[in-house]
């Protein structure tokens, strides 16, 4: 968007911009900013004997970091999200690389479009689909048993592995997109120059291509981390209730205990983690690219 008023229409136009943005601003203020203020305020409240007490205490935060159930949920969430990010990068990078460099451009784009097609299944349905595949009686177990590879069905559903598989499935698609976008922006002459100067294919990859595609990797990794750590659906359907992640712990406070202050404090912790992830990766977003 153009930043400076070149052809600012004369007269009462200064107020007009704000007036036009007014309804959208009002909506966001009333239904987003105000509720966020309430979440932060509630996180300082207490729930004593089923009654809400408006107080100014950091007790909920203390509990979030010290009580075993909450701390484990936070640690689980961090672990699962980090594993998801790493696994998704490892799976998606070669895909994006092959599509960008080893295929005619047209084919690469067709295959990329094909790769993101399952994005359009509903998110809840996608987790359910993995349940079909991973359940005790599911596709994987039935196949393994028919082939005589295992005698008893192996347990995948309702474990952390199932959650990670569901996440990696979803985020590989996302990551392939952002990495592909980065790779096709690297001028071919750079890689050619490296090869002409005698670098092997491997060295070209490590010293030229990889560093230049880093912005795509970082953007993809950031989005993956943020979306994974805030997601309730996949861990609840695939991971089950044995090992809780942070969003599940938050939902449990709301649904089971009706403890909104505790849920609000855990939400604030979640937002804090996302904010830190942003600070850690923001500096790298702009690198290279153009």
């Amino acid at each position: 968007m153009a930043a400076v008023g070149r052809t600012r229409p004369e007269g009462a136009s200064t107020g007009r911009g704000w007036a036009l943005a007014g309804p959208a601003l009002a909506w966001t203020t009333a239904f987003f900013l105000a509720p966020m203020v309430f979440v932060l305020a509630y996180s300082l409240f207490r729930r004593v004997g089923g009654e809400l007490v408006a107080s100014l205490s950091f007790e909920n935060y203390r509990r979030a970091f010290t009580e075993a159930a909450f701390r484990t949920a936070l640690v689980n969430s961090l672990e699962v999200s980090v594993i998801t990010v790493i696994a998704s990068v490892l799976v998606a990078y070669p895909v994006a690389y092959l599509l960008a460099y080893r295929m005619p451009r047209r084919w690469g784009q067709v295959l990329l479009a094909l790769a993101v097609l399952p994005f359009w299944t509903s998110y809840v349905v996608r987790s359910y689909s993995w349940l079909l595949v991973l359940a005790k009686e599911g596709v994987v177990n039935r196949t393994l048993m028919a082939l005589g590879l295992v005698a008893e069905p192996i347990t995948i559903a309702n474990t952390r592995a199932a959650t990670v598989i569901g996440f990696v499935h979803f985020f590989t698609m996302l990551m392939a997109l952002t990495i592909y976008a980065s790779l096709v922006q690297i001028p071919e002459s750079y890689r050619k120059a490296a090869r002409d100067l005698g670098a092997s294919g491997w060295r070209t990859l490590v010293h030229v291509t990889l560093p230049l595609s880093l912005p795509g990797v970082v953007v993809g990794a950031f989005l993956t981390f943020v979306l994974a750590i805030g997601d309730y659906i996949t861990p609840q359907i695939l991971g089950g209730a044995q090992e809780l992640l942070l969003p599940q712990a938050i939902m449990l406070q709301v649904q089971r205990s009706g403890d909104f202050p505790m849920a609000a404090a855990l939400s604030a912790v979640l937002l804090l983690v996302i904010g830190l992830a942003y600070l850690a990766s923001a500096r790298r977003f702009g690198l290279g690219a153009r």
Partner: protein
Amino acid sequence: MRRVGLASAVPRSPMRWLGSVLAYGYLGLVYAFIFLPVVALMLFSFQDGLVPVPPFHGPTLRWYAELFADERMMAALRNSVWVGLTSSAIATGLGFLAAYGLARYRPPAASVIRGVLIAPIAVSYLVIGLGLSIVANQLGVGRSLTLVVIGHVVINLPLAFAVVLSQMSPAQERLEKAARDLGASEVRVLALVTVPVLLPGLLAAFALSFTLSWDEFVIAFLLTRFDVTLPVEIWSSIRTGLDPETNAVGTLVFLLSVGLLAITLAVVSRLSRRRV
């Protein structure tokens, strides 16, 4: 341009041949991984039996028949369409006005407006839903589909705003100026010049919003009780275990989304081609 082509090259050495086999094999594996659940979902929606697991019997359309006879699912489907259309229309309308105001009048502190409008993107749906739920509780407002519409506008507005804003160009501004110079009122300019020229962007914003609302679960889950949207209804049917009817509804949702995507892409690219 040198293409170390998988698609084109005749393998020149055993090493290169091996490399191609590995590359193809890897791509094949990843694509199998990506499509495995979708294929399982679709295939077993035609399962002639009570559980959607191998071995496959059938095909039968029985579960689709049961789905269409399932009043709860159909009601949830109608609710989802209503919530999607309403929230997308509001989000696109508000987003358009804000983008137009920012691009054309360049008000002071425009970056503040942009920052506020984009902010909801940074917050997890779960927390947005929790916030609205707390406020509704405070005000003594019961859970309802109207609240879901409100929540979905919150999550769609940033995207609709950003999409429309990215479509604003100086060329359009000159057109509007020309119309104004020829004596058209502000309202006429908006209705006869701005909106038609921006139509592809507006449609894209609307379709994107609809897709997100159509798919959104957590906010709808927190803000509804009896009248629910389709993802919430599917969620409760998942809790009772694997069921071919869930496969059927999942398959339909997938086909509807892909159809909507295809139509939107076709319309938008057609409109953009004859655009100024």
